[in-house]
Subunit: 345 residues, 4 copies
């Protein structure tokens, strides 16, 4: 099989490193270009990068010389994990230069003509791409995005419920991992023996992204799902894995069994990075736990547990996903696989 040649924007960061790891033995992609800030440009990746994932730097990228973050790059598509401060301008430049841009940044997520994709939920939203090209005068290039890592932990069970019973209101409190802030990110003095009750800009993202993800693609673009989300976001002392404490009101009556069933049977896809189960529902009282469940399905499965009727809402549950795999690099890779399967790359 011919492999697509991939460039990574923001290659030295935490998510950039995760891309390098995930694509190490990927049958459809090979990394041919790494781009990072001026400080890194011109150095071999192993010198430019303070590698922070278990194990050593993958051999395939170790000696690639890091380039500035601007087109052209020697590749067919680009994965972007740029900080939002530079993402907006740079990603557009790449799209304009005919690269499909698979972005993990927040810059374009809420733009009306940009798909905010979770392939198992709203793969049809790639239908926005045509309009995006027209709107923006892109010829071959375009931009697709994946959701905020905290949203990724609860949007899947929400999608399962919304499709069957209609979701009306959601209150979510997140307990987020330190890797979500990148490197150096969270100071150890801020999180050892501590909980940090504030993540800049996070609560608004968590409150708006799910409605677009679960929205319906119509002739006028995405019609957002009509539920309201309340978010309180905390950083806790966990390396990887965002946990969400979720309460939900449904539009239609549903029994506990129906609620569990809707989640458990929500289908996965048949893409290379798709997990055997998209949503794994456990009935062990002390699961999900980040340490035990984040790597489920190679980090691509969302685990749900403690599903119970609630006193104030209809139901409550706990959801967990791996924030730098499913919630970042892995989600983007799956998006790219989806685009290939649909002939859009």
């Amino acid at each position: 099989m011919k492999k697509y040649r991939v460039g990574i924007l923001g290659a030295t960061g935490t998510v950039g490193q995760r891309f390098c790891r995930l694509l190490e033995d990927h049958p459809q992609f090979e990394i041919t270009a790494l781009a990072a800030s001026d400080r890194s440009a011109g150095k071999p990746y192993e010198e430019a990068c303070a590698w922070k994932l278990p194990g050593r730097i993958p051999a395939a990228v170790r000696y690639i010389v890091v380039q500035p973050i601007e087109p052209p790059l020697d590749c067919d598509i680009v994965f972007s994990s740029l900080p939002s401060s530079v993402a907006r301008e740079t990603e557009e430049a790449f799209a304009r230069a005919s690269y499909p841009v698979i972005s993990n940044s927040s810059s374009y997520r809420m733009d009306e003509d940009v798909p905010l994709l979770i392939p198992e939920i709203n793969g049809d939203h790639v239908g926005l791409i045509e309009k995006q090209k027209e709107n923006r005068g892109f010829t071959k290039g375009f931009i697709v995005t994946n959701p905020n890592c905290a949203v990724m932990s609860f949007a899947p069970p929400l999608a399962a419920l919304h499709g069957r019973f209609g979701v009306e209101e959601v209150a979510v409190t997140t307990l987020q991992a330190i890797s979500g802030a990148g490197y150096p990110g969270v100071a150890s003095l801020d999180i050892t023996d501590n909980v940090f009750p504030y993540i800049a800009g996070e609560e608004p993202k968590v409150e708006i992204e799910a409605q677009k993800i679960l929205g319906r693609l119509g002739s006028n673009g995405i019609e957002k799902a009509d539920f309201t989300v309340s978010a309180q976001c905390f950083r806790v002392n966990v390396v990887d894995g965002h946990t969400a404490s979720v309460r939900v009101n449904l539009r239609e009556t549903a029994t506990l069994e129906e609620v569990v069933e809707a989640m458990r049977t929500f289908p996965s896809l048949d893409l290379h990075s798709s997990p055997a189960r998209f949503i794994d529902v456990t009935n062990e009282p002390s699961r999900p736990q980040p340490k035990l469940d984040r790597d489920s399905g190679q980090g691509m499965t969302v685990t749900v547990g403690r599903v119970f009727p609630d006193t104030v809402f209809d139901y409550k549950f706990v959801a967990l996903s791996h924030n730098t795999v499913r919630g970042a690099a892995g989600g983007a890779v799956l998006n790219a696989e989806l685009l290939i399967s649909k002939g859009l790359i």
Copy 2:
């Protein structure tokens, strides 16, 4: 001033140790008796007790010989931090033997004739004691209790709001410290790099205690406050300090300023262990934090922050209190001080 002679039931446990520390230089109390399980009885406290608080065992208790947990004990009142499995029977035996029992256990909290006290909120509930004596045939002894440590973190701001605007619904997600489980308590393998989504028996307690605490004492006992609480309880990797993510619906309209004002001006008392401020409201975006705020007011202040209008509820906020001080031993000591001030001991 004459000092009351105090006995500690469950003296070797985490909360028992905290009692010893808090009473070290207390002007109204001196420890004269320590009682613990058969395994410890007969040994000097320093041998019986695996001391886990910073510093060494207070000199005043080091050589006290631990006694079995049964009356008589050489003291005027007893503080109890017994595990609930034995608390019910044992505390009754002490009350029947004429000891005022200031209990931190859950056994009697919801009994109709037992006060569940937070002195700043419902000190008048000591009015139940007379009836309790009648009901149970106690002559001089009686039982009063303090709330569950997680409830203690959010009941105070709730009381402030309930008194002014009426509380209708509450959704609380707790991030609880490991000291709340005693010693050895939480295994390090369960909480290092992890969140534990289950605390046995905790969610039901959190859902029922606040209504009694905020209830009104009438001629037929406590008329519970008519709001509903939803609880999801998590253990996180923090030594001391329970954090609560709270959302609340009010019966009357209130502006953000009124909400903050109601909390900020809720009065403290003038007892020895009363903090200068009962509720400290901060507007720093990243407070409260357990590490920075748990010791506020010598651990007796509840800190509230991140008070904002909510998308699903009326308001949301974060509340924090020291679980083994205000939420356990310190709360019990304050209860004893209240009883003295009211002439009930």
Copy 3:
């Protein structure tokens, strides 16, 4: 290939769980019997076991009914991770009942006729088995052991140096992971925001095992290596991976390059669980680190770094290995593979 049928003694513990994981897809072994304490016996493994490793219980063992820890068991060989209190008697009973016993317990490690094996270092010590059978009247069964998990982190570089230059004195300070104490093991209150300076019985083990491991098998058994080891052992807040701070005096002069070369070129074996490199020497100043290096070689590689001349000793370095893989279950599995390759099973 015919698979050997394996029984696990102490199957529900931390190391027992690790055995189940490591043997999940092993080409030479299949688990056919699980044995644990009376409390567990009679229950299916998934009920008897509080599974603490990432992911779910392997399907192959989930429904195996746990048996009491006594022969006979339906298997060809047994792996033992029994607590030392019961290991001595029980392991002998199995050996006497004709089972090869591959033990991770400390009970027999220092017995003169029992091999203390690290296959890459002293595979020839299996020569003791014949004598052991004679001594103890075993017919087919026998006992082999693997070292203490802390010893495993520094014995390999020591072996590399001893073979080339002769080791004279060793001072080792260990920073050991919490998983080394099993479950529930270390209380979170003892290790969160803390260092624990004492591990019961550990320093003596660390001071005596290496001399036997690096000893020479002669006609009178093992002639121990003639160096002295000083040990100070600490528990630190790390899940997996023991780090050792090592200083060493050599009998012959050696340059830094020769020292590094001796470690780097120390050969691995060709057994199924052998890592590509037995000793991986890094020159990155901030490696080895437990989080980044413990899983090297699927947890079977020992990583060495910060090799420098020392002011008091000849050289100092830092060594690290995965305590529940290479230092426990993985080491035992490698021992079994060695025994098969030598025709002893």
Copy 4:
């Protein structure tokens, strides 16, 4: 009593904050000036400073406007916790401008005419100040320093042994707290579930400072103590409190009792910040521990435990001190108190 007016150089950093806390109710000092980098200058302290110590910013400094780090400052003496990159030049400028400079920086520690002080050990080294003034042409100002925070944990027991038996060789492995690196300092991703085996520049400091501290002041300056120190330095996941694993060879024979006695009876001083015990020797097998012992003597006591004969050295022990109190701000404050008591300020 007249209070000395104090300026803090580097006031917004971790150690600067600790100075503000320690001087909050000090009978001899009041803070009248705060200086920090250009970024902070001109702002009130509460705005310039990301306060990271428990509790709120002390009221006395909250509104002091931060000034640039250059003389003149409105104060009698300055405490410096400047990063070493700027300390050398700046501290000289203040000394030249007639300020006594009590420095916590490493810049001048090893200069021949600058005292490196631990008052209980070498208070007479202030005799260097006269010579320093001559050498450098200072009129009234001068510089004194306190040791590296890791050295502070083991120099006191070493001093006790050196004075009685003569120390010949020392091997020390440190387990250092994250607060030692300042804020933001150690990234949480580098230390959660991890040990970091490298602290830039630390091992050389640990290997040279003790000889000067324990040296003898003669007519030609300090004659260094003639022992050798070997250091391996690790960062561990502890907030405050450096632990040292120490082995020592003595020049004269000493029994274990004599060794313990020498440490236990080493006298404290009678200065305001002097702890009741300078060295507290414990015989509890699992002490010292950072969490339990760092605050001993308000953080000014050094705790020693696990004193045993060693197999390679004469003795081994574990020593612990609070790195940002005794090992930084508190040590500097004690130095200032010493200078006052000697009439040098």
